[in-house]
């Protein structure tokens, strides 16, 4: 019996081919997008600065995935831990308390974990709504704290004059972001592997049980509260490390790290990437940054409008169709030079026609389904004939 269980767990935890592809692609990005081959083609220009942002955003989203995808806790204030980690890392470097970035990273993560542990008890109680409010409240309080002690945090101006020491005493951060990117990517990879081990362990399975049905899992002997506290603390650690990465690669920390928009954007990242399979964070981070980057070139000042539109359609029509419809609306209103209000009218019209569109999409789904099944059957028939 126990052998079967261990066998099952081991089989589940085996690395798939796509996972190797994913991380090899990440490794390749260091060289391909590093600007080393820039003479060959502008495609190979240095993209390490934006890739660095993607790396810490991926870690941040991974941390939210741990509590949202595996424990079902909706948080509107995950930026609290991100921000704390960010400020701790910046302060450690500024006052030369810990000059070595890796150690400072761990300390920042631990600081965030302490806050996570302390506030996890607030999250245990109440409904989804209460959790939303409590997490939001914690983030707001953290922002207010940072705002009210300008002697330490620099207040609204942000913490300036931070200089980060060389990593492990050997590698200095450079202005092109090469070292920073490799550093962030390595941290992301290490923490990802750890998170992967955790969620495929029996502990991870029990978390899924709690998410599925808290009452039943407590009946089979799982300590629901204990599991939630543990995973919340762990997620806070991850978020703190992500924040510290931001502070170390930019040598700056400001009140912006606690902002509500950051927590809200994070939810969007994870929704684009998908929850509950760990790759949602990294994939979502890549997609989100690409969307944000291309929107910002189209519409530098009001790109948030389109992010909002995307959110609305994602919820209404699901991930694939929602994104598709959002892109169509964006393209149409851009081509016709519609104002934001006319574009909102289009949204309303789509909403009124929701029933028709929905049933149209269902028909489309069924067609695609049939096509896939037919091609699969055809392939099987071919194989059988060969045999």
């Amino acid at each position: 019996m126990i052998e079967q269980v261990t066998h099952y767990l081991a089989a589940r935890a085996r690395w798939g081919a796509m996972e190797y592809v994913f991380w090899l692609a990440a490794l390749a990005s260091v060289f391909v997008c590093g600007g080393y081959w820039a003479e060959l083609s502008p495609l190979f220009a240095n993209r390490h600065l934006i890739l660095t942002e993607i790396a810490w955003l991926a870690l941040f989203a991974l941390s939210l995935d741990l509590i949202l995808g595996y424990a079902g806790i909706i948080s509107l204030g995950h930026a609290a831990f991100f921000g704390l980690g960010s400020y701790v890392a910046a302060l450690l470097a500024k006052h030369a308390i810990i000059n070595e970035p890796v150690l400072a990273l761990v300390v920042s993560g631990l600081a965030a974990a302490v806050l996570g542990f302390a506030t996890s008890f607030l999250v245990l109680r109440g409904s989804d709504l209460a959790r939303l409010m409590v997490t939001l409240g914690v983030a707001l309080i953290m922002r207010e704290v940072a705002n009210q002690i300008p002697d330490i945090t620099g207040g609204a101006d942000g913490l300036q004059g931070v200089s980060i020491g060389p990593i492990l005493g050997m590698f200095h951060f450079d202005i092109f972001g090469h070292v920073g990117y490799v550093y962030c990517l390595l941290v992301l990879f290490v923490l990802f592997v750890i998170a992967r081990r955790i969620v495929y362990s029996p502990f991870g399975l029990s978390l899924r049980a709690v998410k599925g049905n808290a009452l039943r899992s407590s009946l089979v002997g799982i300590s629901v509260d204990g599991r939630l506290v543990a995973v919340y603390t762990l997620a806070a650690f991850y978020a703190g490390v992500a924040g510290a990465l931001l502070a170390q690669t930019t040598a700056f920390a400001s009140l912006d790290v606690f902002s509500f928009e950051r927590s809200a954007d994070l939810l969007l990242v994870l929704i684009i990437g998908g929850t509950g399979y760990l790759y949602g964070g990294p994939i979502g981070a890549v997609a989100f940054k690409l969307i944000q980057d291309s929107l910002a070139t189209f519409d530098p000042q009001y790109w948030q409008y389109w992010i909002g539109l995307l959110l609305v359609f994602l919820v209404l029509f699901g991930r694939i169709y929602g994104a598709l419809i959002a892109v169509i609306v964006f393209a149409v209103s851009h081509a016709l030079r519609l104002s934001f209000f006319e574009c909102a009218l289009i949204m309303l019209v789509i909403g009124i026609g929701y029933g028709h569109i929905r049933s149209g999409l269902n028909v489309l789904d069924a067609r695609i389904d049939r096509l896939i099944r037919r091609s699969r059957a055809a392939r099987q028939g071919l194989l059988q004939r060969k045999a």
């Binding site: 909706i74 109680r125 939001l136 409240g137 000042q301 909002g308 919820v315 209404l316 934001f340």
Partner: protein
């Protein structure tokens, strides 16, 4: 001392008018509408355009703001919100955050990002002393208007047919449906009315709260606090909660300016822990 109390009451009344629509939506459909502040902002900017640009008198601007915002609210409810009621809380949050982002960017684009003020008639400006209390004329107007609204709301809820239908739907939507009450219709009307009230509150409050495109984000927390503290099963709960929060906020900012913002958030978290159902609510019927 009493002046602070007075200001706090005015602030609280304003919060109530802004947030009571949210209380009903939350209680009725269990729907987390983070975009409620966007309707308040819409009301504020509509009044601004009417009064500052078109030159309408202030008192004509207020009811128009109410009606137009109610229409917008009703339209959004019928076209978009109605598809999201049965989705998960996460979806609801994402959906309404999306609407907030859109409204912030759109208003920023049309009206500019700076803080704006509605021109109020000179008769409403300034303060006068009454029994040693400094009373701001504009704040007195707010108290009067919001007081009348509160009484009217209470009357509608307690002694009209629509009110009893609404109460029945809030208490137990399933049974209410079974009794032949058109809960969705009741909800659409209430949503529109609540949005209208928010719009009116936004127009009235522009002077005190300030009006700029980030309004829905800035005050989202306050609305949510009113609802969570007050509970959503009656109208007196949110009303008392609004007053409490208004007074606590004004007093907190006056006496301990360094900790002004903490007071509110701390009250909220403590109350959520101690009384998850809200301060004045009885146990839910569901």
């Amino acid at each position: 001392m009493l002046t602070i109390l007075f200001d706090g009451i005015a602030y609280g009344m304003l919060l109530f008018v802004l947030a009571c629509g949210l209380a009903v939506t939350l209680g009725l459909m269990n729907f987390v509408n983070l975009a409620h502040g966007a309707f308040a902002m819409a009301g504020g900017y509509i009044t601004l355009v009417l009064v500052n640009r078109a030159g309408l008198p202030f008192f004509a601007g207020l009811p128009i703001a109410f009606i137009v915002t109610a229409l917008i609210g009703g339209l959004f409810e019928r076209a978009l919100y109605v598809h999201v009621y049965n989705k998960s809380p996460l979806d609801q949050v994402l959906f309404t955050i999306g609407l907030v982002f859109m409204s912030v960017a759109a208003v920023d684009y049309v009206m500019g990002s700076q803080q704006v003020f509605i021109q109020i008639p000179s008769a409403l400006q300034g303060r006068f002393e009454f029994l040693g209390i400094g009373i701001g004329r504009y704040r007195l107007l707010i108290i009067v208007v919001c007081g009348i609204l509160t009484v009217a709301l209470q009357l509608i809820l307690s002694s009209t047919r629509f009110g009893s239908r609404l109460r029945a739907s809030v208490d137990d939507a399933r049974v209410a449906r079974g009794l032949g009450i058109n809960v969705n219709g009741v909800f659409a009307l209430t949503f529109a009315f609540g949005s209208g009230l928010a719009g009116l509150g936004g127009a009235l409050g522009a002077e005190i709260l300030g009006l700029d495109p980030t309004f829905p984000l800035k005050y989202m927390v306050y609305f949510l606090i009113v609802v969570t503290v007050g509970g959503s099963s009656s109208i007196t709960g949110p009303f008392l909660a609004s007053l409490l929060i208004g007074i606590a906020d004004v007093a907190g900012k006056y006496y301990v300016p360094k900790f002004g913002a903490f007071v509110i958030y701390t009250i909220m978290i403590v109350l959520l822990i101690l009384r998850p159902q809200g301060l004045f609510a009885r146990a839910a019927g569901r």
